[in-house]
């Protein structure tokens, strides 16, 4: 089959590789009908994850049709009473791999599954404990082959795969795999009370879904911060008020817009490759370049300082290592709460399907580019460089 492989920093190739096989009893093989490039794939593209290996198959946003099931499904002996599945089912695949039987899965903390990361020791050395395995997202989270390919092997398929009813197009449900639930969970993590003001740093795809989710969850106002005009426009189309951080001083502007109080909750939907301005931006870029700091937290710092007293800081943006100069004084003295994590995708699938079927949202609004799988290298380049007003790319195998 054809698959999109990481071969080094900014080196993406479409290669012919062997088709995936069933390895474990609860596996499924999915023939992929649609897949996407995620903003977090750009961290890998840009070489910020040291546990990528040449030849790794990328991609964690994919859906398709079940073409093969492991032995657990044939003999009706599905462990943990997972879902029944059949060849031919049309499914979306959560990017987090979850066993359904551990302490964390039992508490709906799916992205913290104890049993899906074969390289847990690696994560434990870095972080004390390991999160769940993830598709196509480095060896730190399991080294699973990803879904920017014609086929993928899905472990614990009975727990992960989510059947899609007839009548919905791929583009309406593809983002259930990651960015829609990620934006939704990030909004939920804001602990929104009716009429709250939520400020969101980053108007990429996750930020866009977070804006719309915040309104669904009762926010009165959403203020979206970015510098890319088409992203700010899309945020505005979603009902947000917008701030271009290259044009205004964000902290002052937020105070002004909220009567001096500050937003009730703030969200960092940017993560470890934030673009800072001035001396602070230079400091982080320099330290990151020589690996004295792995992650650049400019958006997070700004968000903490801007948040109102007693407010909540929600962090869907991806971090992998260490950050410098966290304003802990502001965080502590203002009595803030921080909520974060990889997305517990499984928890939100039915809720989001209902939202789409009710007509509350059509997730396809975020797509700006549709390419063939073979064009993935070009896709990574235009997405990374934000060429051609690119916000979200869907690839067709």
């Amino acid at each position: 089959m054809k698959a999109v492989c990481w071969e080094g920093t900014k080196k993406i190739e479409v290669e012919t590789v062997p088709d995936p096989k069933i390895i474990n009893p609860r596996d499924a093989i999915v023939k992929i009908t649609s897949t996407a490039i995620c903003g977090s794939d750009l961290h890998l593209y840009n070489g910020y994850n040291p546990t990528m290996k040449p030849g790794d198959i990328l991609g964690h946003e994919f859906m398709g049709e079940i073409v093969e099931l492991g032995s657990a499904f044939k003999n009706g002996n599905i462990h943990n009473k997972g879902k029944a599945l059949a060849v031919g089912d049309r499914v979306v695949v959560p990017f987090t791999i979850s066993c359904g039987g551990c302490f964390f899965c039992n508490r709906s903390l799916w992205s913290l599954c104890d049993n899906s990361n074969p390289n847990a020791w690696m994560a434990e050395e870095m972080m004390g404990h390991s999160p769940s395995g993830l598709f196509g997202y480095s060896h730190l989270t399991g080294g699973y082959a990803g879904g920017q390919a014609e086929y993928a092997r899905v472990p614990f398929a009975d727990v992960g795969l989510f059947k899609i009813p007839d009548g919905l197009a791929d583009e309406q449900v593809l983002f259930f795999t990651d960015i829609f639930p990620t934006g939704y969970m990030a909004a939920e993590n804001c602990d929104i009370e009716p009429g709250d003001t939520v400020a969101i740093w980053g108007c990429g795809p996750v930020g866009q879904f977070a804006i719309r989710s915040a309104f669904m969850l009762g926010a009165g106002r959403v203020i979206a911060i970015d510098r890319v005009p088409e992203r700010l426009q899309m945020a505005k189309d979603g009902g947000a008020e917008i701030l271009n951080y290259e044009e205004v001083e964000v902290g002052e502007a937020l105070k002004e817009m909220t009567g001096g109080r500050g937003p009730d909750s703030v969200m960092d939907a940017v993560g470890m490759e934030a673009h800072g301005l001035g001396l602070e931006g230079f400091y982080d870029k320099a330290k990151q370049a020589v690996r004295l700091e792995t992650d650049r937290p400019n958006a997070l710092r700004q968000a903490i300082v801007a948040c109102r007293k007693g407010g909540t800081v929600s962090v869907p943006g991806v971090y992998t290592g260490f950050v410098d100069k966290m304003p802990m004084g502001a965080f502590m003295n203002k009595g803030l709460t921080m909520k974060t994590g990889q997305t517990h995708v499984h928890r939100y699938l039915q809720t989001l399907l209902d939202r789409v079927q009710n007509g509350d949202i059509d997730p396809s609004f975020v797509i700006t580019h549709r390419l063939m799988l073979e064009q993935a290298p070009q896709g990574y380049e235009i997405f990374n460089d934000k060429q051609d007003n690119c916000i979200k790319i869907v690839l067709k195998p």
Binding site: N24, A72, I97, C102, S116, G142
Partner: protein
């Protein structure tokens, strides 16, 4: 030199102590999740024969005996005289007081030998015996909690290795 090497590891497994005890008590199950253990043959209630497979086709074998056995609580074993390598270990199953699974602690100890066989054993047990024990125990947990062991061995990857 030749100091015994002792490693230990504790994990919580989301299953009742009795179920974990039963599975482990049949030593013939151990090669399912212990990476370097090739085969265990149980002779009787006490005695068993263990065979490991190491690098360069070196195998290390020994007879072991259960030295302590408390139902659903603890199993201890030790190699008997004439073993290629003297080793012992125990596993303890302790129900979490708040009903949140079973805390499982494994302690193993072995006496490294000098010479050729000693080197082979050192390789067999790897650079980090603690990590190896931790990985084995984690695979036991996976098998008990999910019925299988998470792996990526055998999956496709690109070939244009740079």
């Amino acid at each position: 030199m030749n100091q015994p090497i002792k490693v230990e590891k504790t994990l919580t497994i989301n299953k009742p102590a009795a179920e974990l005890y039963r599975f482990w008590h049949n030593f013939e199950n151990l090669p399912h999740f212990m990476k370097h253990l090739k085969n265990v043959k149980v002779y009787d209630a006490k005695r068993s024969h263990w065979t490991t497979s190491g690098p360069l086709n070196v195998t290390v074998e020994w007879d072991a005996e259960i030295t302590e056995d408390r139902e659903n609580e603890l199993i201890a074993w030790a190699s008997v005289e004439g073993a290629d390598v003297n080793n012992s270990g125990f596993i303890r199953f302790q129900p979490n007081p708040n009903g949140r699974g079973t805390e499982v602690k494994v302690v193993t100890e072995y006496k490294p030998l000098g010479g050729e066989i000693g080197n082979a054993i050192a390789k067999l047990f790897g650079e980090s015996p603690k990590q190896q024990l931790g990985d084995d125990l984690r695979r036991f947990k996976m098998l008990m909690e999910t019925g299988e062991i998470a792996t990526t061995e055998g999956q496709p990857k690109g070939h244009n290795r740079s």
